[in-house]
């Protein structure tokens, strides 16, 4: 039994069927990259996994437990599953350290002192401990996104969902954010990431899934998908990426 099991998941918004029977298994410590055209449903899938969206059909299981559908405790699910968004979404009225400690203190009930200590240790790791007392608008985009990652990590999630976390960044700032993700992967965090950074997906992912028309059209190891895609649409998608010089 896999750590995360996504079984026949369907989801629609109004007339558009966004997810049309997604089947996917993620093992513990595995890094899975979701690729696919814009609008193919990568964000929607990630948002369904931590119940920011409800699903119409199918079931999602985390560690054998059903985490979709009626009667689930969404708040405790979200303690286990962290998500980082493309647009950072730091809380602008709180300092960096307050951003990080809010959820540990209010949700996990950790004392302020302990929460602060832990936040400072995390910030030190990413080299931002000097910015602890700053407000987010004084930080660069790359720094903000690193803080957002740390904010999710402070809840000690077992699964991290990363939704195109470098898309809103200056090319020069992408590196510092990817470094953190690389370290997380090395440390064995289970990660599911939607990304347009193909070379990064190739480097860190254990499994790459190509989403198309609401299903996982093709999946495999990075070598299989990037060097040797078997199905036609995967080939054309990657061809376009290569022509755009992004692989």
């Amino acid at each position: 039994m896999a750590f995360l099991e996504i079984d026949e998941v369907h989801k629609h918004y109004g007339q558009t069927q966004v997810l049309n029977g997604i089947e996917l298994e993620v093992e513990l410590h595995q890094v899975v990259a979701l690729i696919g055209a814009s609008g193919s449903g990568k964000s929607t899938l990630l948002r369904c996994i931590n119940a920011l969206e409800t699903i119409d059909q199918g079931v999602i299981r985390l560690d054998g437990d059903r985490v979709s559908g009626p009667g689930i405790d969404v708040d405790s699910l979200r303690c286990d599953v962290g998500i980082v968004f493309q647009s950072f979404n730091l809380f602008p009225h709180m300092t960096v350290v307050e951003n990080i400690t809010l959820a540990p203190r209010k949700v996990l009930g950790i004392g302020r002192r302990d929460a602060d200590d832990k936040a400072m240790r995390l910030l030190q790791r990413i080299g931002l401990d000097t910015k602890a007392k700053e407000y987010p608008d004084r930080l660069s985009g790359g720094q903000q996104q690193r803080v957002a990652i740390v904010r999710a990590l402070a809840m000690e999630p077992r699964l991290m969902l990363l939704d195109e976390i470098t898309s809103a960044l200056d090319p020069a700032l992408v590196g510092e954010v990817l470094t953190i993700v690389r370290e997380l992967a090395v440390e064995g965090m289970t990660i599911m990431m939607a990304t347009h950074e193909m070379s990064f997906a190739k480097e860190v992912a254990d499994k790459v899934c190509f989403l198309h028309a609401g299903v996982i059209y093709e999946e495999g190891t990075p070598e299989e998908i990037f060097s040797n895609p078997r199905r036609e649409l995967t080939q054309t998608f990657l061809q376009r990426i290569i022509e755009a010089g992004r692989l």
């Binding site: 979200r78 303690c79 962290g82 809380f91 959820a103 949700v107 809840m155």
Partner: protein, 333 residues
């Protein structure tokens, strides 16, 4: 020719039929002549304008432009100073007209310099101050509650949402004077439980809190809705509950934005405390009425107005200051 000034025709080089536009010198003749309506500043404006023209004729373009600029500056000063001087002069004339009739009606020295009258008015005004201080405190909390109820999600909460909406619609739609009459006179007469033992002043606080709670809850609601949904998504994704998200993430950001409009409503509330006189409370207005009746003048009303101004003007200045600061902060981002 432009609206603001007249270009000196002499400069326009018409060789090959081309009219030159760049490098024109503006002498602002029309503006300068018009500003003669207020001669102290109009005369310098005209002199500079004339000098600009003569400099143009001498081909001293840089000097001419400077003179033109001066003419323009003086013309604007004429607008600013002239308008104010004439307005104040008109008001002074009004007060003096009718051989001092205005003065006698509004500022009769008999009341204006009477310590007893001031003392009595201040005692009344203290009631108004209490009413708005209590009402404002209650409104701050009550309006937030109503706003949050109106924003509760889900079908299950539809009935309370509907109740809150009905409350807001009703109390925003009734003039505050009527609310004060209905509550201040009606509730005691009907011996409604709980509130029948309220004092008159408590009734007034209740009436004004209900009315302004409806207004302010709408401001709160707009403020809460203006916080982008992605902020709530981020908070929920960290495991915070719906109410924790409201409490720690959404409402604090909303409060920052709604400070100015709420204070604005509070200025209205402060002035509306004058309405409580209709149920016979000995507030500043009723006391002023008695003083006026005794003296055969309206001066005590002017004095009451001054008391209100003493509170509302610092309040509005403060509000302006906050707005300016907020604008600066937003611009800085």
């Amino acid at each position: 020719m432009s609206d603001v000034g007249d270009a000196s025709e002499l400069l326009l080089v018409r060789s090959a039929g081309n009219r030159r536009r760049a490098g024109r010198v503006l002498t602002y003749r029309t503006a300068a002549v018009t500003s003669l309506l207020f001669p102290p500043t109009g005369i310098p404006a005209l002199l500079h304008s004339l000098r600009a023209s003569s400099l143009v004729r001498k081909q001293e373009l840089e000097q001419a432009r400077l003179a033109g600029q001066r003419a323009r500056d003086w013309a604007w000063i004429s607008v600013g100073v002239g308008l104010s001087v004439y307005t104040v002069a008109f008001l002074v004339w009004l007060v003096q007209a009718n051989s001092g009739g205005v003065r006698k009606a509004f500022f009769s020295s008999k009341l204006l310099w009477s310590g007893d009258t001031w003392h009595s008015l201040l005692k009344g005004f203290w009631i108004n101050v209490q009413v708005f201080a209590y009402a404002e405190t209650i409104v701050l909390v009550w309006a937030l509650l109503v706003a949050v109820v109106r924003l509760l999600p889900g079908r299950a909460c539809a009935p309370v949402r509907w109740l809150a909406t009905a409350y807001v619609d009703v109390f925003r739609g009734i003039p505050s004077l009527l609310v004060i009459l209905l509550i201040g006179l009606g509730l005691p007469q009907a011996r409604v439980p709980i509130v029948r033992d309220f004092s008159d002043i408590q009734m007034c606080v209740l009436a004004l809190s209900l009315t302004y709670g409806a207004y302010v809850s709408e401001v709160y609601r707009a403020g809460i809705e203006s916080v982008h949904w992605s902020q709530a998504a981020a908070a929920r994704s960290l495991g915070l509950s719906y109410f924790q998200t409201l409490r720690h993430v959404v409402v604090p950001q909303a409060l920052r934005r709604i400070g100015p409009p709420v204070l604005n409503d509070f200025i209205g509330l402060q002035k509306d405390t004058a309405l409580i006189s209709v149920i016979g409370v000995l507030d500043v207005l009723n006391r002023a009425r008695f003083a006026n009746n005794a003296a055969g003048s309206l001066t005590a009303y002017s004095m009451a107005a001054l008391l209100f101004l003493a509170v509302t003007i610092p309040f509005t200045r403060y509000l302006d200051y906050i707005l300016r600061r907020q604008k600066r902060l937003l611009a800085g981002q």
